[in-house]
Each structure stands twice: as C-alpha cells, then as structure tokens.
C-alpha cells in the first residue's frame, strides 16, 4: 500500500507533458543549429538514401564554409538510418526530436507515420518525396515538381515534340499513393490534351515477375507507357517488354531511374532508344544553372569522390529547401519550433537556382509548387548517364493544374 502511494506521488510529480525546450536543436553558445535527417542507409532503399544524405551534407558543408545561416549560425547534420522500416522511423523520430531544429524525412509511409507527431510537437519537416499530398500540410516543407506535374509536362512533350499525336498512350504504376499520383497526373494530361489512356496496369513493390502486366500492355498495342515505379523495377519491367518484343516509349517518373541503369550493358541500348526520364533540374555539370554550378563547386571542395547521382542532387536540393527555411527563421530571429512554423508561413517564393522549379510557400492554401520538368534521355557519354532533351519545360496543362485543398 505504502509502495503504491509512493509511486503515485512520484508519478504525479514527474509528468513532462508534450512540452519541449524553447529552441530544440539550437545552441546559442556555439551558434549552432542541428538539423536531422531520417533516411534509409541500409536495405533495399539504401541506393537512394545514402547518396541523398551525401548531397544533404555537402550543401550544408558549403553553407557553413560560406559563413553559415544568416552569416552567423553553423549547421550540424544529425543523420539516422531508418532502414525504410516504419516502427524504426517512429522510434528514431522520438530520439532526435529534442536534438534537432528541423527534420528531413525520406519515404512516403514514413512521413505518414510521423506526421501526427510532427503536428503534436509543432515540428517542421521536409518530406523526401514529391507526393502532392504534402502541399497543404503546414508541418511539411515539400520541394521539387510533384509527380502529377512530371506526367503533365511529359505528356505535353511527347504529344508536341515526341511525335505522340494519335499514338496509343498507356500507364503502368506501382500500388500506393505514389502510383496514384502518377495516374492522377496522366489522367489530368489526358483531359487537358485530349487523348485517351488505352490501358492501365498496377503492380506491387514486391513483385518480381512483370511479363503478365507488360504483356497486357503489349496486347493493348501501347506506343507509349507512362511508368511510375522505383529504380529496382525499371530494368525488369523494360526487360520483360523486350522479351515479349514489346518496346514502347517508356516515360518514367523521377524515382524510376538509377545511375546503375546507365551501366547495364544489356539494358542500355534499349533504354537509350525507348526510355525517357521526367524529373527536375539540368544535366549533371550544366553550370549555366547557378545551383548546379554551386553544387559542382561544393563537391570539389567537400566531396571530391562523389560520382554523378540524381539522388545526391535530390539531397542537395532538400538541403537548399531547408536552408531557405533556416534563413527565414534566422531573419525573424526566432529559432523555436513556433518560429520555424512562422518562417514557413512567411517564406514566400523560393528559387532553387535551376536545380528544380521555384516554389511559392506560405499558408498551406496559398502554396504553389514547382510546375517545371526536364525530359532526359539515357546517354552513357554524359555525366550521370542522362542527356537533357527538354530542360525545365512547363506545359500550359501543368501550369493550370489545381492541387487538392
């Protein structure tokens, strides 16, 4: 009985609520802001997570060397391996939430799982995903062209410059919100450009046999297939088509590509002729774009061993978005969680220096994402294995596209 009473008294004296330090992640004494990133550094998605982290770190290394945020705050990156496992992500969020000012996340399910806690804790995070669902979430700071925009621009390019008028257009998409976003973009393009989607096939991320769905696309006599998927499945899907003597033009969303594809002796000849990648930014090393020029300079100084990699570029871009938020919060002289939310509301238009299209931030209902996409063709003679066919294009249908409120 006495034990019970003592324990009850102890418990009543030690509640900590959901309160946090005033400025978690900010050390005034050393003028250091700590930022976190939860990314897969092991397992099957390591191929994305590791270069992304390297790009993220490289950008902040450059920022620190150039004087830091607001010319006075150094940035320290706290990275954790979420292994692309949702419970691990949730636990790691609890681990880093009091250590960092702002957080970057990788993976749509992981953002979904952590978002309720972000709202409770008032934390701002950057979702490493181009899912348009994030646009209206005040706790999230998306960047880059959403998946819908990639297909709207891609369809417009195919019809007007790729000889696609009158051709049979189809879709193949992975199950889940990412695939849904791709399908939504292609349906919007069909409505705006006046074509019909002749066939649509879905598959699961764990599928390894693609002959049946690809065979059905062949039966539908598709001339072009808009592909929403992951790097690991692009080769097997295109390869399944080759075995069936079905070689349409594949137009892939940004995550369908991996630099490893440009090194496949078997697939590369097919990809060079029958694959186009729809993503953000210029060719690797195109220094006519100021952000690419800066990235190449930063690589030379801080990560000379880095090879061309679109996910490195994605991490660098993610750090640019975070930098804009940190700069705004520093300008407002409020590095608290409430300060970052306010900075997000006041951020306005942010330029990504040609590495991706500009974004207009602000209150969720006023946010306007990037509307530009670059069409790439595999070309092994180019750094990164990609040649820009149409750089930073923005179709009228993409500009007119309305995202859900």
């Amino acid at each position: 009985m006495a034990l019970t009473v003592a324990l009850a008294l102890l418990a009543s004296a030690c509640g900590r609520g959901d309160s946090a330090p005033d400025t978690p992640g900010f050390d005034k004494a050393s003028s250091t802001i700590r930022v976190g990133i939860l990314t897969p550094l092991s397992g099957p998605v390591q191929v994305i997570g590791e270069p992304l982290l390297n790009g993220f770190r490289t950008r902040f290394a450059g920022i620190n060397a150039r004087g830091g945020i607001g010319g006075k705050y150094q940035v320290e990156v706290v990275a954790e391996d979420n292994q692309y496992d949702v419970p691990t992500s949730v636990q790691l969020y609890q681990k880093v939430k009091e250590q960092v000012a702002v957080l970057a996340l990788v993976g749509t399910p992981h953002v979904n799982a952590i978002l309720p806690q972000l709202k409770t804790d008032g934390v701002v995070a950057l979702p490493g995903s181009l899912d348009a669902n994030w646009i209206r979430e005040i706790n999230l700071l998306p960047y880059g062209g959403p998946y819908q925009i990639q297909f709207l621009n891609g369809a417009n390019w195919y019809l007007n410059q790729g000889g696609g008028r009158g051709r049979r257009i189809c879709a193949m998409a992975i199950e889940g919100p990412y695939g849904d976003a791709g399908i939504a973009g292609l349906e919007a393009a069909a409505a705006a450009e006046g074509f019909t989607i002749e066939a649509t096939e879905r598959y699961r991320s764990t599928d390894t046999e693609f002959a049946p769905p690809v065979g059905r696309l062949a039966d539908a006599r598709c001339d072009a297939v808009f592909l929403t998927g992951l790097p690991a499945t692009t080769g097997p899907i295109v390869g399944a088509g080759v075995k069936l003597e079905f070689t349409p033009l594949w137009l892939g969303q940004s995550p369908t590509w991996s630099t490893a594809l440009s090194k496949s002796a078997e697939l590369l000849p097919v990809l060079e002729q029958h694959f186009l990648l729809l993503t953000d930014g210029p060719e690797w090393g195109d220094e006519t774009e100021p952000a690419m020029k800066q990235m190449i300079a930063d690589i030379g100084l801080y990560r000379p061993e880095q090879k061309p990699d679109i996910y490195f570029q994605g991490g660098y871009l993610e750090a640019m978005a975070m930098e804009a938020l940190l700069e705004k919060a520093a300008a407002l002289d409020d590095l608290s969680r409430a300060g970052f939310l306010e900075a997000q509301r006041q951020l306005g238009r942010v330029s990504f220096g040609g590495l991706a299209g500009d974004w207009t931030y602000g209150p969720p209902e006023q946010r306007d994402p990037s509307r530009v996409t670059t069409v790439f063709r595999p070309n092994p003679s180019k750094p990164g294995g990609l040649e820009a066919v149409a750089k930073n294009m923005s179709a009228p249908s993409a500009q007119a596209y309305r995202f859900k409120s």
Partner: protein, 360 residues
C-alpha cells in the same frame, strides 16, 4: 515477502518509474516491445502451449490494426470498443484458421498460415473500404479510458507526454494479457492445450476434444494478435499494408523462441530483447569495429537477429525464460545432483522433443 511478490513489486516500480526516468526514444522502443509482447503472448498460447505452428500472426495484427482504423479513427468509438472489436475480429478469424488445424499439422499447417498472410496482403492492398488500400490509413483513435485520455494524458493537474501515457497503457495491457494467459493455461482449456501439445492421440483417448482445443488456441492467439495490431495503430496513428508481411510473422515466432515458448514470461522477455537489442546495438555502434568488417549497423542487427534465432533453436530451445528457470533451480539445489530434483525432472519432461523442434 515471497519471491513472487518481490518480482511483482519490482515490476510495479518499473512500470511507474520507467516513463518518468526514460526519455521519449527509450519509451517508444519499450512501447513497441510491449505491443509485440501482447501479440507474442497470444502466439505462444498456440505454439508453446497447444503445439500448433503458426506463421500467420502478422495477419491477425493487421486485422486488429484495421479494426482500430475503422472503429476508432473512422467511427470515433472509444478505446474499449475498438480494442474489443479488434479482439473479436481477430478471434473469429483465428478460429477459422484453427479449423484448418483440425486436418493439418506440422509443415502443412505452417504453409496454410503463410497463405493467410498473403490473403491478408491482398485484402489490405485492394479493399480500400477496410484498409485504405495501398495508400494506408491514418487518424487518431480515441484512447479514453474513464477519466484518462492516453493521447493527451492529464492527471491531477499534471500533464504527461504521449510517450509516457502510451507506455503505461500498453504495458498495463501486457500485464492483462499475461494474466489472461496464465489463467487460461491453468484452466480446463489450458490443460487440453497442453495435452494436445504433448500427444494428440493420447489427449483424444482420455476424452480431450482435440478439435475444440486447437480452434480455441488459434482463436485466442488471433484475438491477442489483433489487440496488438489495434494498439500499434492507436500508437503510430498510421498503418500501411506492407507492414503486415510474412517477415512480421517470422519476427513473432522469433520472439517466442528467443524468449522461451510455453512460459508466461517468455514472449515478454523475447519482445523486450528483440525489440530493444537493435536500438542498443545502434547506440553502442560508435564503439564497435563494425566498419572494419564491412558491415552497417542495420546489417549487423540483421545478422545478430538470425544468429540469435539459430543459436536458441539449436542450443537453448527453452529460450531465455527457460534458461533463467534452469539457473534458479541450480542455485536452489546447489551441488546436489540436478537430475534428482523433481523440478528438473519436470523441466526435462518439458524439453522440446525432436518433433517439437521440427514443428518450430
């Protein structure tokens, strides 16, 4: 104070003090361990006590999670409703799977339970009305129990972090599940399970309704697995279909094996060890020479997981809880020949037979 009361007092102190002394990260790890412990207690009743192999426990966890989505987050019904709704749904589906156990055993039964996982994955991915489809489902399931709201806990003017509140809720339910399991094992049903576990033919010969025992074991296992899934959703507030994979079911079985099957404490110890060890290795990794071995921390954890399971099955099939019991017996019996001790004789009788190992 008896030893049992001392253990209970230590656990009570830990229950109250841990959320006050441990940070949110540690509490999150322990809360996940508690959720898995609830499910593993259920699986152990089927595997450890009734001798029925199941590789489909992840399916029941999914059933419970989506029951919580629909009854809690969508319909806004209270914690007792969505938890008991999950238990009823899991129990009913568990009983259905149990019907298969009437005709099958060993590897054939294992394959049927694997099939259940894949049926579940199809439903979770393709029936959005139940699961939200491949996009998953999110929302806040009300967690109010009397005057306590575990999502926003406030007691006597003192507010508590969600991690603290959910630790208390989950571990209170671990205690409830363990109490339920202990009583079931001692009941007529539990004795029937043990008889079926030891020898189906002999059990039948002495009047045990073997079919009823098997179906009830799967039903209780399914119900507790579903409660674990409901707690998972209540805590994380989001679930996607890929979380209920075959690997999850394998993890449950590993928890039971490492903790010690057929022992009340086994699944709880297994859940804490297998849930906490990866995070512990991560914390210690700066001091470990894993880089020189060409390993990442996550890969080291996977390697350790596999080695643990292999070592326990091969060399310590009674698991950690069984090993602890052995140590206690040795301590109490001192230098006297262990084989003479009645308790050791009983333990030897409990030692899994070759058939049992094959089933595992």
């Amino acid at each position: 104070m008896t030893r049992r009361r001392l253990v209970a007092a230590v656990l009570a102190v830990a229950f109250v003090v841990l959320p006050l002394a441990v940070g949110d990260f540690g509490l999150s790890v322990l809360t996940f361990a508690g959720i898995f412990a609830v499910g593993a207690i259920g699986l152990d009743l089927a595997v450890g006590h009734a001798g029925q192999i199941s590789l489909g426990h992840g399916f029941f966890m999914g059933v419970g999670a989506y029951a919580a989505v629909n009854l809690g987050a969508e319909a806004g019904l209270g914690l007792p409703v969505w938890l008991s709704g999950a238990a009823v749904a899991g129990g009913a589906l568990g009983a259905l799977v149990g019907l298969c156990a009437l005709r099958l055993r060993g590897a054939y039964l294992a394959i049927v339970t694997v099939g259940v996982v894949f049926v579940g994955l199809y439903v979770w991915n393709n029936v959005p009305a139940i699961s939200g489809g491949a996009a998953g489902a999110g929302g806040e399931a009300p967690a109010v129990l009397g005057p306590l709201d575990f999502n926003h806990l406030r007691v006597a003017g003192q507010s508590y972090a969600r991690e603290q509140a959910w630790f208390w809720l989950v571990w209170a339910l671990v205690a409830a599940a363990a109490w339920l399991a202990a009583n079931l094992v001692r009941s007529r049903t539990g004795r029937a399970w043990q008889a079926v576990h030891d020898n189906e033919l002999a059990a039948s010969a002495v009047g045990v309704d073997v079919g009823r025992a098997k179906v009830s074991a799967f039903a209780v296992a399914g119900a507790l697995g579903a409660v674990a899934g409901a707690l998972y959703f209540g805590y994380v507030q989001y679930v996607g279909p890929d979380e209920w994979s075959l690997f999850l079911s394998v993890q449950f079985l590993a928890i039971v094996i490492v903790g010690g099957s057929g022992r009340l404490a086994g699944p709880v110890v297994g859940a804490v060890v297998l849930g906490g060890a990866p995070r512990l290795v991560e914390e210690l990794s700066p001091h470990l020479p894993i880089g020189g071995l060409g390993l990442t921390v996550a890969n080291l954890n996977r390697l350790l997981f596999g080695l643990l399971v292999v070592c326990f099955v091969a060399y310590a099939p009674r698991g950690l809880a069984g090993g602890w019991d052995d140590l206690q017996r040795r301590r109490r019996w001192g230098r006297r020949p262990l084989a003479d001790a009645p308790m050791v004789r009983a333990a030897v009788a409990d030692e899994p037979t070759i058939d049992d190992k094959e089933q595992l």
